[in-house]
């Protein structure tokens, strides 16, 4: 699914009545099945962009489109992964993963079967009936990833999904995400603070400026796919990281 954004602006109203521009104006096109990573200083409106694309927030001006249709409200074709795992603590792992299907009216047997199919790919075998309070941060994010993937989204929105994880867990879960995304054929837009993660996963890295966030660089990562953790030691990988780094420093 193609994601396009035209002259999009998000402005917040401060308590004093002052207008606080958070994002834009910004325009870009993301081709179907492309993976875009967004990096930039904190408070540059990245999360606002994700919320607009998810249909959770109306832009102040301009528009965002899915296959040329303006985004007005949340769409079943779009999956959103939050900064924290955002699981329901009273639901087991499998019922958390199956939630979107449950809300769509899929029968209990069918949705549990589909969730069970995802469990091994997520590395959650044996934890089907565990509660979120029993999981580590990394596992909780895996459950959250499963919950997004089960609805087979055509657009995957990821708002710093691994920000709170330690480096090792983070790398492993990024690689798993890479594999699951490739199987899914979804367009992915991911906000991250980790440049190496951005380069490893993405086809394009968008660099945003300080608030109000504007697109100041669009770095095409031409590393071949499928990618592996070894790729991070390539010279080309290092060049891309430096290129993105330099763009951020200009931000």
């Amino acid at each position: 699914m193609r994601v396009s954004v035209r002259d999009l602006q998000v402005t917040y109203r401060a308590p004093g009545g002052l207008a606080l521009p958070a994002l834009g104006p910004i325009s870009f096109e993301v081709e179907p099945e492309q993976f875009v990573a967004i990096v930039g200083p904190s408070g540059c409106g990245k999360s606002s962009l994700i919320r607009v694309l998810a249909g959770l927030q109306k832009p102040s001006s301009g528009s965002a489109y899915l296959n040329h249709q303006p985004i007005q409200e949340p769409s079943s074709a779009v999956g959103l992964m939050f900064q924290d795992s955002n699981l329901m603590p009273w639901r087991t792992v499998i019922d958390n993963i199956a939630l979107p299907l449950e809300l769509a009216g899929v029968s209990k047997m069918e949705r549990r079967a589909q969730a069970a199919d995802l469990i091994p790919q997520l590395g959650l075998e044996g934890f089907e009936e565990a509660y979120p309070g029993e999981l580590s941060g990394g596992m909780a994010q895996r459950v959250a990833l499963g919950r997004v993937l089960i609805q087979r989204p055509e657009v995957l929105l990821l708002d710093e999904p691994f920000g709170a994880l330690d480096a090792l867990t983070r790398e492993q879960i990024s690689l798993d995400l890479l594999q699951l995304w490739q199987q899914s054929g979804a367009t992915a837009i991911m906000v991250t603070h980790d440049i190496r993660e951005a380069v490893l996963l993405a086809d394009r890295v968008f660099v945003f400026s300080q608030r109000p966030g504007k697109l100041i660089a669009d770095v095409h990562i031409t590393l071949p796919r499928p990618r592996h953790s070894d790729d991070m030691f390539n010279e080309a990988f290092g060049d891309f990281v430096r290129q993105v780094r330099a763009a951020i420093d200009r931000a």
Partner: protein, 279 residues
């Protein structure tokens, strides 16, 4: 204003909840639980042996026991207990339902809070005993008046807990429901209700014991049956052992209700007792 009264109410009762959720007690602590009532009974027995007070002030445990057996045999205990139990359950049901519905609406429609809080807080601040006679005038001397008295006492903590519970549902989870295109009903049944459940159950536990107070207050005003009425009648005829029997019966009702809600809580909140398996 409402919010302040509310957090006070909440803090007052939230400590009870953790107690029930604790892991199993050690053997010593379980014996300790029985030891206290036994000690009280022994001290009571000892004091009456000394014959410091006349029987109509402190009757012996035996006198109370004999009275208890007598009223069980002539069926009066079941009669009065039955009446009070009906009043308590009716009042509880009414107060909890209205409190939850109104609390849910207030949690979602802030202007309702501004409109209603003067009335609600005034009702809560005025001692129920003061306006209970009015309720008798309006609703008669029968069971209904006591149910309404009970409902009014129960209503406030249930309302407060519902408001707190619904308002404390994490915004992120609301967003999740929105992106998953949940219906209004699904939002309530799959998110708001389970997320607010711990707070709602705390409110229900408070309400369960308050409903007993409400029913007894109603019976004290006017009644011709019920345990509260019985206490009054027995006191007027200096039948202190009977007062003891009636009071103990009320304790049994209150504790049973409290226990029932605690059991419900253990079942519904089982997930809270599960801790980390891995790191």
């Amino acid at each position: 204003m409402l919010a302040n009264v509310l957090s006070y109410t909440l803090n007052k009762f939230i400590s009870n909840e953790k107690y029930v959720l604790k892991p199993r007690r050690s053997v010593v602590r379980r014996y300790a639980l029985i030891a206290t009532p036994l000690t009280v009974l022994a001290v009571w027995h000892f004091i009456t042996l000394l014959e410091l007070f006349p029987v109509f002030i402190i009757p012996s445990p035996q006198a109370v026991g004999i009275k208890l057996i007598a009223v069980i045999q002539d069926g009066r205990l079941w009669l009065h207990m039955g009446v009070t139990l009906q009043e308590v359950l009716g009042g509880l049901f009414l107060g909890v339902s209205v409190g939850m519905i109104l609390g849910y609406l207030i949690a979602h429609i802030p202007v309702l809070e501004d409109l209603l809080s003067p009335i609600i807080v005034a009702f809560q601040a005025t001692p129920i005993l003061a306006y209970a006679p009015l309720l008798v005038i309006w609703f008669g001397t029968g069971i209904t008046g006591k149910m309404i008295t009970g409902a009014l006492v129960v209503f406030f903590p249930m309302l407060m807990n519902t408001i707190v519970g619904i308002r404390s549902v994490p915004e992120n989870l609301r967003d999740l429901m929105r992106v998953s295109r949940a219906s209004r009903w699904q939002l309530f049944a799959k998110l708001e209700l389970p997320a607010a459940m711990p707070v709602l159950l705390t409110g229900l536990k408070t309400s369960a014991t308050l409903a007993v107070i409400g029913a007894v207050v109603g019976e004290f005003v006017t009644a011709n049956a019920g345990l509260g009425y019985w206490v009054k009648v027995a006191r007027d005829s200096y039948d202190t052992p009977l007062v003891f029997v009636a009071v103990i019966s009320l304790t049994v009702i209150a504790l049973s209700l409290y226990g029932a809600v605690s059991l419900l809580e253990r079942r519904l909140l089982a997930w809270q007792r599960r801790h980390r398996l891995v790191d």
